[in-house]
């Protein structure tokens, strides 16, 4: 219901434009608070100060996956229900996800050097995140290479859905192949194994990352709507000039 009501681009812009400044402010406040907590939190007894990389690294990795999920769901709506806005939403999410994934890879590498003694290890998690990053790149390249907007949206939506089915398999196969990275320590059936003093800053940072994503996403969807409007107008003007 709400989704189909919001599918009108005009209405979408009108509803979300006033929300965006508050969202940006909330993101900024959460980041300041989260970063303060990162530095106020205790050192790890084993890792010392380098553990603080975790507060940047872990949420970025979560966001890389989360953004992909958002992209897959948007693509699904775009493909099945033919919402033009859903196509725009999927397209708008891709570069954000790519940046989060790249951030996870880079911070992971910087963390790996002091902890594991290596910048890069061909271990399961790292490889599957790298594949995810390549996937984002492929998605964007495919979108850019097809001129017709509707066709580009459709092809990339199919790709995103195939990816949605395939990425868990890739991840599982890569994990099965080799693993050095530690297992999950926050989302576990028997509760998190991270100490509360470190869990809090992590959760606040995760919330800040999510808000940042939503904010950027809304801005990018709006840009997409505007650029379509602009292209439509330009086509109409050139058509009129050509006809006269």
């Amino acid at each position: 219901m709400i989704i189909s009501w919001l599918a009108n681009p005009e209405r979408f812009s009108k509803v979300f434009a006033p929300v965006r400044p508050y969202l940006a402010a909330a993101t900024a406040i959460l980041f300041v608070w989260g970063l303060y907590l990162c530095f106020a939190s205790p050192e790890d007894y084993q890792q010392g100060d380098t553990v603080r990389i975790m507060y940047i690294h872990v949420p970025a990795a979560w966001m890389g996956l989360f953004t992909y999920l958002v992209m897959g769901v948007s693509s699904f709506f775009g493909l099945i229900f033919r919402h033009a806005l859903a196509d725009a939403a999927a397209k708008a999410a891709a570069p954000i996800g790519a940046v989060f994934t790249a951030l996870a890879l880079i911070t992971g590498s910087l963390w790996g050097k002091p902890m594991w003694g290596t910048w890069w290890e061909w271990d399961g998690r790292m490889t599957s995140v790298l594949v995810l990053f390549l996937f984002y790149i492929g998605y964007m390249a495919l979108h850019a290479s097809i001129e017709d907007e509707t066709r580009a949206a459709k092809s990339t939506a199919i790709l995103a859905l195939i990816g949605l089915v395939n990425l868990p398999i890739i991840k599982f196969s890569v994990d099965w192949w080799n693993t050095l990275h530690q297992g999950a320590s926050v989302f576990r059936a028997d509760g998190p194994t991270v100490a509360p003093a470190m869990l809090w800053p992590l959760l606040i940072m995760a919330l800040a990352y999510h808000l940042l994503f939503v904010w950027l996403w809304l801005v990018r969807i709006d840009c997409e709507i505007l650029s379509r409007k602009y292209n439509g107008l330009r086509a109409r003007i050139s058509f009129r000039e050509g006809g006269a």
Partner: protein, 222 residues
Amino acid sequence: MIPAALALLKRDLSLAFARGGGPVLAAGFYITLMAMVPLSLGPDAQTLSRIAPGLTWLCLALASLLSLERLFERDYEDGVFDLLRTGPLALEAVALLKCLAQWLGTGLILSLMTPVVMIILGAPVDAAGLSLIAALIGSLSFALIGGVGASLTLGSRKGGVLIALLVLPFYVPPVIFGAGLMDAYVTGAPIAQALGLLGAYGLFALALSPIAMGAALRSALN
């Protein structure tokens, strides 16, 4: 319907062979790639025999990328697809048959060469049968996933490299399972798990890729 399918398969196969390029080109590429390995890594027999199973899988994956660009492109450009669309076969079936013809023309031949190449690089001779079966399943999955990539990039401006970028991440599981299977065999570990997973991925590709190709072709033709 079945005569139509057979006719299409026959047409695509004879086109693949008549063009001269397809199978011979792929086989030549495969052998050249393999010949580069000892040249670049050194001819040390111990190293080569250790990495032989993995290398053959890598080269199989790369060689199967070769003719993907032309899989649908030609028929798309000269309007054969519009004609096929009016025929008795669904676009999904057309795409699947084209992938099958592509596989018979290249993947099958590369698979037959795989045990030979592996033995030349120093893998044990008794692994030949298993490596052939694994390569057959693997190359079929490569052909099907590759078909999806080819159908998605129809009408885009930079076909070849883009297909490789789209498709290679999805080649990861069969490469891991295939190379893992050979490794397990050589080291004497149980092979059932890797073989089962490889087969599962192949069936999975067989079930889902026609749907994706059909949707992509339909969007390209409209």
